[in-house]
Amino acid sequence: MKRITDAITAILVCGFVLLITAATALNIIKGGIALPGSGISALLSDGSFVRSISSGFTDSFTERLEWISADARIGSALGESIVNGVYMTDERLLDAENTPKKAFPGTASAVLGFAERYDGAVYFAAIPTSAGVYGELLPEYLSTLSTNTEKQVIDELYSQLETGVRKIDAYNILKMVSDNYIYFRTDNKWTGYGAYCVYRTVVQKLGFQPIAYDKYTIEHLTDSFCGELYSKTRYMKCKPDIIDIYEYTGGAEVTECTAIDSDGREYSCELYDRSAAQGEDMYNIYPGAVSAYFRIKTTVTNDRRLLVIGDDFAPAFLPFLVQHYSEIVMLSPEKISGGITQYADPDDFEQTLFLFGADTLCQSGELVRLLDDVKEE
């Protein structure tokens, strides 16, 4: 009998494996796998060649989204609240990666070096992620990690940014208004309203009076946005998110928007990309969400120019600055392969605003790389 069941096991399992292998192979043939740029050295030394094949294989894995969703559903049914590093509650999804957080080495000195090198005023806004603000929803051991250490990361970074850089306390502003819809339920990032709450303070530091909230016309562009945290679980008990866009009808107008993508392709565009509401990532509605460089020219006649260097948090913030500057340029270090001066000369701007999420400040050294490049120049 054992022989018979072994044979049945072989037929069933091999059939299942071969079916999935064939379907995945078809997906790979259709889409291809991106191999690492440093082909030979990756093949020779650190195993990154196979890691990138493995990553491509996983991305092309047949019905991958369904598998991810099934994993979350099984976990949820078994009472598991953390799936793929995401803590699932009825209210929202939160990043629950249990990793100690610390600002990427050299971030403070790179920003200080930048501030020293240029004459203009430098501002720094470190934005907590949703897990940083709503940490109390997480299990105690995780909330200690995410709340305190995100705050600690920001405090520590700010303490290192001594003179020469003006710091913006976004953490306490957001914490105070945390009862409002300031963070997406399905993403780490803030909503338009969250960005507005910080804008009110930032813009005063930049030397302007903020535009009152009631002056804006708010348009609900979509109510079915499912953010990055959702994409990790493909399952949620909470509702999808709303993406609002803010327009000040009586104010200055945008005359020109130019973007350069990470491949160096330049194109004209609108402030908001409304077509992204039908796309895969609706967050791309916000200006510059997909570009390495984004320039906005406005009808404001004060001839003031602002350089924003930021991550995924910056695009939702940008529209509020439109009323105060004749030109704004945003650079995304993670999408830029070369140096800043390939895109803009910081000396042309009297103010530079660094705006980064706490998660990017911990994980990514792109800002340090970008500013190192400036130092060399």
Binding site: D6, L12, T21, L43, G47, F57
Partner: protein, 457 residues
């Protein structure tokens, strides 16, 4: 590439199995070697190059040792090759070797299984020198013994003589594939559901400052660590054994439900059996003839257990953990300890194993000692909200974990085998195997693998 990854299960494995099955029987070893070389290359060509060089050196050294086994030349070659083998293992495994911070080493992928590679190579040389087996003339068979992909990552570890027997009795059939897949999936379940879930509990406890840890949290963390180590090691061993069986090689199991054993010696006879057997065969049995006194034998046993513990972590903590277990095993030979009732034996064995696990898990001895004090209530807190939350979340998996890793499971299985239930279980095995494979696939679908490894052996 590790076994618990989508690329291996749905890419490498089916391709390997297809290629192996269409190869004529006579050339299957060659095919297996090619597949194993491809598997090794997944750690980088440089690493594969070092392993190839080591294979060639061991092959040549084995031949020389055999020819001059009674002379000084044979002994010199034996010493040199053993030193070279151990040096390669140290080169990859010891993190704080002088000069190892250079870019060259940082950029080389860590070859998983280097410890098993080394133990196999050293064991082979000693066997040849002692005349327990002849030096292998067939370079393909010899290479396969050292880098065969089903046993490369974490065993099974077998002596060369045993390997030849297993290889000679290869039985590649649809039944062997089915039986192997069932064992492989069992290992995968141990890794993904047992080890990975319990690691979350362990890391939750470890992320709390030891000075603030309640006694309950500390006990939960220690229990989670012990089970996590068991599930990871036995999971990978099962995956290796299962893969071997798929290709016709019937390797023995490495674990036999060791947790909750009634004596330390019983625990040692069931824990990572082939590794501990290696230390017994190639070190203890070599030294024992020169240790006439019982107390000296006990001392040597403890020291060898310390070496085995060191193999796991390459830190002083690993060595101390092994020394404690070895000393306890030696103490069990005392008549007073032997007379202890079974229940007391199980209790002290569990406590010693758990506390040794705490030492093994620590970065420093003092850190482990503070953790043990927290277990004993030094922080004046028996339980807190964290411990209650963790207990509520993980109590079921802890109970199941202790059950399946202990003798209780073995006895239950024996009872089932004698009853009608056995046939029902046997009939359900194909569906259960498939269901667990699908579950594990879902669990790996986001990251593509379960690459969390507590020990890089």
């Amino acid at each position: 590439m590790i076994y618990s990854s989508l690329l291996f299960i749905y890419g490498f494995f089916p391709a390997a199995l297809l290629l192996y099955s269409v190869t004529p029987r006579l050339h299957r070893e060659k095919t297996m070697l090619v597949l194993s070389i491809i598997f090794c290359c997944s750690f980088g060509l440089f690493t594969a190059g070092i392993l190839t060089l080591s294979i060639l050196l061991n092959y040549v050294a084995g031949r020389i040792t055999e020819r001059f086994s009674s002379g000084a030349a044979g002994k010199a070659v034996l010493c040199l090759i053993i030193l070279a083998d151990i040096a390669v293992m140290f080169l990859f495994r010891a993190d704080d070797l002088p000069g190892k911070t250079g870019e060259l080493f940082l950029s080389i992928a860590y070859p998983l299984g280097i410890s098993f590679f080394t133990l196999s190579a050293v064991g082979y040389q000693l066997d040849v020198f002692r005349g327990r087996c002849s030096a292998e003339h067939d370079i393909i068979r010899f290479s396969l013994y050292l880098i065969m992909f089903p046993k490369l990552i974490m065993g099974p570890l077998v002596s060369y003589g045993n390997y030849l027997r297993i290889s000679g009795r290869r039985n590649f059939s649809i039944g062997s594939i089915g039986g192997g897949l069932a064992v492989f999936v069992r290992g995968l379940v141990k890794k993904l559901i047992g080890a990975d879930l319990l690691y979350m509990l362990y890391s939750a406890v470890r992320s709390t400052d030891t000075g603030e840890l309640s006694a309950l949290s500390a006990w939960l963390g220690a229990a989670a660590y012990l089970l996590c180590v068991y599930f990871e090691l036995s999971g990978f061993s099962d995956m290796g054994t299962g893969l071997g069986r798929c290709f016709g090689y019937s390797f023995p199991a490495a674990f036999r439900h060791p947790v909750l054993s009634s004596r330390i010696t019983k625990f040692l006879s069931r824990w990572h059996m082939q590794v501990l057997h290696w230390f017994r065969r190639y070190i203890l049995e070599e030294i024992f003839p020169y240790t006439p006194h019982r107390w000296l034998k006990a001392l040597v046993t403890a020291a060898v257990c310390g070496m085995a513990g060191f193999l796991y972590t390459f830190t002083p903590n690993g060595m101390v953990c092994g020394l404690i277990i070895g000393a306890a095993a030696a103490a069990e030979q005392l008549p007073a300890v032997r007379r202890l009732p079974r229940a007391s034996g199980a209790a002290y064995t569990f406590i010693i194993i758990l506390f040794s696990g705490v030492i093994l898990s620590g970065d420093t001895i003092t850190g482990s000692l503070s953790y043990m004090l927290a277990m004993l209530g030094s922080n004046h807190s028996l339980a807190d909200s964290l411990s209650l939350y963790l207990l509520g979340s993980y109590v079921l998996i802890l109970i199941i974990g202790f059950f399946v890793s202990s003798e209780l499971m073995r006895r239950s299985l024996q009872r089932v085998r004698r009853s009608r239930l056995y046939y029902i279980a046997l009939a359900a095995e194909p569906v259960i195997t498939l269901a667990f494979l699908a579950l594990c696939t879902a669990m790996m679908s986001y990251s593509g693998s379960s690459a969390m490894l507590m020990f890089k052996l």
